[in-house]
Amino acid sequence: MYNFEFVRPSSVADAVAALADEDAMALGGGQTLLPTMKARLAAPTKLVSLSGIDGLSYVKTGGDSVEIGGATVHADVAAEVADAFPALAALVARIGDPAVRNRGTIGGSVANNDPAACYPAAVLATGGTIVTDKREIAAEDFFQGMFATALEAGEIITAVRFPVPQAAHYEKFAQPASRFPLVGIFVARFASGVRVAVTGASESGVFRWTEAETALSSDFSADVVEGLTPSADGLIGDLHGTPTYRANMIRVMTARAVAAAG
């Protein structure tokens, strides 16, 4: 990779100031950004590490929500939300592998919005909130397509907040080489209705499968899902699977997620 300037500020304010430079980028755990820089797909002139900021790594549980600091690594989230939000803990415990989970952060994952990342499915399915240094952004508004988010240049994710559903499950069909989901489904059942988020499948990144949400809100059963036919329009086609294959996987994995959520 090309060389760059490295800074590790100790406060959010200093990090924001350091990110004001053109071509500066925030560094979470680096589990995506550093390989991307090695491949020269990204070449920031300055990396601003968020790992030295006090108070950005925490998990707060209580009431009907979970709040996770932006710099919290996956391994800590998996351990600390196991009781409060087991479906989220299970999702996080299968991101990458143990060594990746010891470095990768929730803020980094959500900010990158990889179309096959696991976290965005949980954020969107629960109707979560992304908290930044300057505002709060609803999940619906935050995810704006493949690798695209509502974040402005230099804006830092300080926390992510999840409403905890009555029942939930994440079902992931892992692509065996990358361990990313070929298709991943997060089903969340609230008193107000059911939400279904799909990752790994779409050219536009994570999205809600509204047809299934409507059906499941009146009858929360795997059988209901079996009768639906997700559209293959706009789905990813690559050497791992065609759009039609992924469309079928959305149905299959949603049915499994509903059965497991109970």
Binding site: N3, E5, F6, G30, K38, L47, A99, V100, N102, A177
Partner: protein, 161 residues
């Protein structure tokens, strides 16, 4: 150049390196600790796993500068002497847990992290934990056996494949 200081295998070290220096290159090239290997260099294979503040990480995907002030343990820090190997090293030897040996440093470091979190893991837990460590020789069977043995469990019970 940036001065990067840390404790590696119990010894304080400091070197002036470029910001882009990866931890694995800092260990191998600046400190001559070549036991930690570079396999894929893309955080897939796990040959570069070391412990940073007690946690297993892929040293090819962490900047040396990010380990400023950290306590790092590499494969060289596992045995107290050539005659007194770590119990995992003994078990890999006893159970033929390696063939070419290239992945072995990473396997040992990952397995050691597993045993510190979970002293008596099941076969399934061992296989799941070692998901990020790739071995192209053994078929993993004897590696799993070695980890079971190192954890004081009956490795003979592991069915032959």
């Amino acid at each position: 150049m940036t001065k990067v200081s840390m404790t590696v295998n119990g010894k304080a070290v400091a070197r002036d390196v470029e910001a882009r220096r990866m931890l694995v290159d800092y260990l191998r090239q600046d400190l001559d600790l070549t036991g930690t290997h570079v396999g894929c260099d893309t955080s897939q294979c796990g040959a570069c796993v070391v412990h940073v503040n007690g946690k297993a990480v892929k040293a090819c995907t962490m900047l040396a500068a990010e380990a400023e002030g950290a306590k790092v343990t590499t494969i060289e820090g596992m045995a107290s002497s050539d005659d007194d190997l770590h119990r995992l090293q003994v078990a890999f030897n006893d159970h033929h847990g390696l063939q070419c040996g290239f992945c072995t440093p990473g396997m040992i470091m990952s397995a050691a992290a597993l045993l510190s979190e979970n002293p008596t893991p099941s076969e399934a837990e061992i296989r799941h934990y070692l998901e990020g460590n790739i071995c192209r020789c053994t078929g993993y069977h004897n590696i799993v056996k070695a980890v079971l043995a190192a954890s004081g469990q009956d490795s003979a019970a592991l069915a032959a494949e």
